[in-house]
């Protein structure tokens, strides 16, 4: 069994810390059971369960550091892994950027665990697939989707007396529905805390409707358009940008947050004043562990406040070098918005384009965070507050920095997962002017 109780985890970590003869010792014990089901062409294609538990021990003699890990937990194994880490540390070169292990912390637990998600079994997963597939069969539609769920624990301890333990769960469902003739495609995604809140048989209707309604797409000329990005469409661009909120890169002059002549843009107005983003490990819908990979306690932290850069990621080393306070690396990103749903934003739009989802986003120029990517699985033309007709997909070349200066209106944030980001996100649907589409795509 890969999930240890707090008492079991603490007993193991206490033994490890006691065994170490190094100047300091940090140990992290983590385990997970992950399940998934994948379906395509209205059939289940793969399904599986993977479990894993691992103990990593890091020790230091002066500025020499060694790490070793193991997945056995009897006394002899624990002794072996500690000695191995010590041997490696003695042989390692001095790390000029070494900082001692963090002191004893108090971690306020965050609500990362859901009993209903942890209780998912193969029958639950098979039913999700069946509930997604059944309404598509017989309606000229083809479903392809994926459910990934898991439960996990993480425990951290060090020789300064620090200890933390927390359990967590994860749940992410996505489904793409295509018309049999391949002319229409729709999508739905649900990234949830509680599996009990999930209704595949209802959510699948969103993807089915978008597939059906996107089948007669008309070509619009590429150019600058008012767009409504659904939360999933905006998340990919925004999460991409967040990976450049690193203070060191900015100070070194190789970031869009570098100041001409030196330094960074901390405190400067970079976005529309309506842009507010925070990290908060205790958010009830989007909680994350209350510590980061170094064990630093996460706090509620303004990242962008009224469009100004409120905080950059200062590693402990860079903070010390620059005379700043280090902060834990955020695990979530909560962007503020208004009260309106995507549908309400559509109703208030004279002319515009509704984007369900964005795809294959890549950096074109880091100087301006110019990103390219495409729309996908439901792109529609809006006129006088109504969806008028589907349009062919576009390629965009746009910077999220420019995009977040062109805000018309923000809607109500919802929890979304990025295709390629580990951040747990709450992102609003957003109405933006002058969004740059540079070419048409024939892809459906």
């Amino acid at each position: 069994m890969s999930i240890f109780t707090e008492a079991q985890a603490k007993a193991i970590l206490d033994k490890v810390i006691a065994l170490s003869k190094a100047d300091e010792c940090t140990a992290v014990l983590a385990g997970s059971i992950d399940g998934n089901i994948r379906f395509a062409l209205n059939n289940v294609s793969t399904s599986g369960i993977v479990d894993n538990t691992e103990l990593a021990v890091t020790v230091a003699f002066g500025k020499r550091v060694g790490t070793a890990s193991i997945n056995e937990f009897d006394d002899a194994a624990l002794e072996r892994v500690v000695r191995r880490a010590e041997d490696l540390a003695r042989l390692a070169p001095e790390n000029p950027e070494f900082l001692p292990a963090i002191g004893k912390q108090t971690y306020r637990p965050s609500p990362t665990f859901s009993a209903s998600t942890a209780a998912i079994d193969p029958a639950f997963r098979a039913k999700v697939a069946a509930d997604s597939i059944a309404p598509c069969r017989g309606n000229g539609l083809i479903a392809a989707g994926f459910l990934e769920d898991g439960q996990s624990f993480q425990a951290t301890a060090n020789s300064n007396g620090n200890f933390g333990y927390q359990r967590g769960t994860n749940f992410d469902y996505t489904c793409t529905v295509r018309t049999e003739d391949g002319r229409g495609s729709g999508w739905v995604g649900r990234n949830l805390k509680d599996a009990a809140d999930f209704k595949a048989d209802q959510d699948i209707r969103i993807a089915m409707r978008k597939a059906t309604e996107s089948a007669e797409a008309k070509a619009l000329e590429p150019g600058k358009y008012t767009v409504i990005l659904e939360p999933a469409a905006a998340a990919g661009l925004i999460s991409f940008m967040m990976s450049f909120f690193d203070a060191r890169s900015a100070d070194e002059g190789r970031s869009f947050l570098s100041r001409k002549g030196g330094g960074n843009k901390l405190g400067e107005q970079v976005y529309d004043p309506r842009v507010n983003m925070v990290a908060d490990p205790w958010h009830p819908e989007a909680a994350v562990l209350p510590w980061d990979s170094e064990g630093q306690p996460r706090e509620k932290l303004d990242i962008i406040k009224d469009g100004k850069i409120a905080n950059l990621n200062y590693s402990r080393f860079w903070a010390q070098k620059q005379g700043k306070t280090a902060n834990a690396r955020p695990g979530n990103l909560l962007m503020a918005g208004g009260d309106k749903s995507t549908a309400e934003l559509v109703r208030g739009t004279q002319k515009g384009i509704l984007v369900t989802r964005t795809w294959y986003i890549r950096m074109v120029d880091p100087q301006t965070v110019l990103l390219t990517g495409l729309t996908r699985d439901g792109t529609f033309y809006i006129e006088n507050g109504q969806i008028k007709h589907p349009v062919k997909n576009f390629r965009f070349n746009e910077s999220p920095v420019i995009m977040l200066n062109n805000i018309e209106e923000l809607g109500k944030p919802v929890r979304v997962a990025g295709d390629e980001s580990s951040l747990v996100m709450m992102i609003p649907p957003m109405k933006l002017r002058d969004f740059t589409f540079t070419s048409l795509s024939d892809a459906v």
């Binding site: 998934n36 062409l41 990593a56 191995r84 950027e97 002059g253 190789r254």
Partner: protein, 544 residues
């Protein structure tokens, strides 16, 4: 560590699609030189196969994998990290009642693997209820006990860390000495020790090696706040440490003196060149958008081949199995019947899992099929796809193409891209001769930004180095260049491919596909090729 953290740490632009986290548990360097006892592996495999049969499986395969990685990461005069990782475990795949089930465990006891086999069978039974068509496997006759090893000359895992660190710090010193503001460099070494056994009677032991030495050199103009990078022109390869010996025969020098590399990389010389070119990029004029004839170096073309030919000709994508994530394909089955004109008659593209030095080369794939080479596009016409055992029947094939792969013991194997390459031109043609005919063109070296839609029609690519060609002469460096294509029009605009003396491999360690996401390493070969009348955009923007 997450992908973004990894990118931030290394300052690298990913060579391929994605860069995943460090992987597996941390071990000592000397442990990288060991291997599991084949007798133990056979015993475990037999226990799993027996348990699967007993649980009602009509087919079972067992993959016992030991995946070793070594990362040496540096910046300027500092070693940032040296990490050795190992991930060992067993993945078991079964067919029960016509449906697949999979389970994996890192516990290497016969009872543990038997339990995982039973779990896989239970999952298959649960899935069989919603399955309308039973799985059909193309035959893969048992090969008995066999082994295969990447033909390396020097095992990188045997080279002392000290030697690797000295190499990278010397490379960095070269770049800094040539005027770089920053340099990040790393070595990324992979050894996959894979044991495959199946109810077909195969016991296949393979030892696969790969190497990658990426770097990024940054130049900053503090007065303007402008920064530019130039990434290394090397390629990840299916070679040993001999790739880094930098011997002269590995070089391919372009008509304007830019040095590219074949099967041997002089990393320091490239770092010095990169530092100079990154500074030159700061001052290079911005491209005027419009139609240009493009001359694409193999260090660039590999990625265009990968995205616009390799992926759309994966049969599982064509059929819709990847519809929810990576997407489908414009190259539908009817197009093979019609011999769809994918490209001009200069375009001959083949798939190959055997090419020495390539990332995809193995003796057998991850479902026990012997690897081979086959044609995908012949004189511009679409003739075939890439497929595996449970989909071969859809093409009317009686055997798999041997391109099934899993990135870990804990991942389910599925169809992954073979090395897909553009065959060199049959008549003698040098790059210099090719440039002579171009009136208004751009010569692109190295891979840059890349993005393509989910059916592989509309793509956009950047590069590392862009040079203007005017009236048959390479004149000056350009910046802010990206080109946009519609796949069939692009390949039909191919008017020349240089001969085999220019043929080189590019590739990626991190081609992402599937849910849960998996990566695979793949190479793409080509000679320099010319494409007429391609749409070039200007990517410069102002943040005000």
């Amino acid at each position: 560590m997450q992908r973004r953290d990894f990118l931030a740490l290394t300052g690298l632009t990913a060579g391929g699609l994605i860069v995943p986290s460090f992987f597996g548990k941390v071990i000592a360097a000397e442990q990288l030189q060991s291997a599991l006892d084949p007798a133990l592996k056979k015993r475990l495999a037999d226990a799993a196969l027996a348990a699967a049969r007993q649980a009602g499986a009509t087919y079972c395969d067992v993959r016992i994998g030991r995946y070793l990685r070594q990362y040496v990461i540096t910046r300027e005069d500092k070693v940032q990290n040296v990490v050795n990782t190992e991930s060992t475990g067993v993945g078991i795949r079964v067919i029960v009642n016509g449906a697949w089930g999979f389970a994996a465990t890192n516990q290497l006891g016969t009872t543990d693997v038997a339990r995982a086999a039973q779990q896989a069978a239970a999952i298959a039974k649960a899935n069989a209820g919603v399955q309308t068509a039973p799985v059909q496997l193309a035959a893969a006759p048992g090969v008995g006990e066999v082994s295969w090893r990447t033909p390396i000359r020097k095992n990188a895992m045997d080279v002392p860390i000290k030697e690797k660190v000295e190499l990278l710090l010397d490379v960095n010193a070269g770049a800094m000495g040539a005027g770089a503001s920053f340099v990040n460099s790393m070595l990324f070494l992979v050894n996959e020790q894979k044991y495959f056994a199946s109810t077909d009677g195969s016991y296949i032991d393979q030892d696969v090696h790969r190497i990658w030495a990426p770097m990024t050199v940054t130049a900053i103009d503090k007065s303007t706040g402008k920064f530019r990078t130039r990434s290394g022109l090397s390629s990840p390869m299916g070679l040993g440490y001999e790739y880094l010996d930098g011997v002269g025969t590995g070089k391919a020098v372009s008509p304007n003196g830019v040095v590219n590399y074949r099967n041997s990389y002089d990393m320091k010389a490239d770092a010095i060149a990169a530092a100079k070119q990154a500074q030159e990029k700061l001052k290079a004029p911005s491209v005027k958008p419009g139609k240009y004839d493009l001359i694409l170096d193999p260090s660039h073309t590999w990625l265009t081949i990968h995205e616009s030919v390799g992926h759309p000709l994966e049969l599982d994508r064509v059929l819709g199995y990847e519809a929810n994530y990576a997407g489908t394909s414009f190259a539908t089955l009817d197009k093979r019947e019609q011999h769809f004109q994918y490209g001009s008659d200069k375009v001959n593209i083949f798939a190959d899992k055997t090419q020495p030095g390539s990332l995809g080369a193995v003796g057998y794939d991850d479902e026990g099929v012997k690897t081979k080479r086959w044609d995908l596009i012949s004189e511009g016409k679409l003739v075939d796809y890439q497929t595996i055992r449970d989909q071969a029947h859809i093409l009317g094939k009686t055997e798999s193409d041997g391109c099934c792969y899993a990135d870990s013991w804990s991942s389910v194997q599925f169809q992954r891209m073979a090395n897909v390459s553009l065959a060199p031109g049959k008549t003698k043609l040098s790059v210099a001769d090719m440039v002579k005919d171009v009136e208004n063109g751009i010569y692109i070296i190295g891979d840059g930004s890349f993005s393509i839609d989910q059916q592989r029609y509309n793509a956009q690519f950047g590069g590392q180095l862009f040079y203007e060609i005017k009236n048959g002469q390479i004149t000056r460096m350009l910046e802010d260049v990206a080109y946009q294509i519609r796949t069939p029009e692009f390949w039909n605009a191919c008017t020349a491919v240089a001969d085999e003396s220019d043929y080189r491999l590019g590739g990626s360690f991190f081609d992402g596909k599937g849910q849960p996401g998996q990566v695979s390493a793949v190479s793409h070969g080509s000679s320099t090729a010319r494409f007429n009348g391609i749409n070039v955009i200007n990517t410069a923007r102002s943040l005000g």
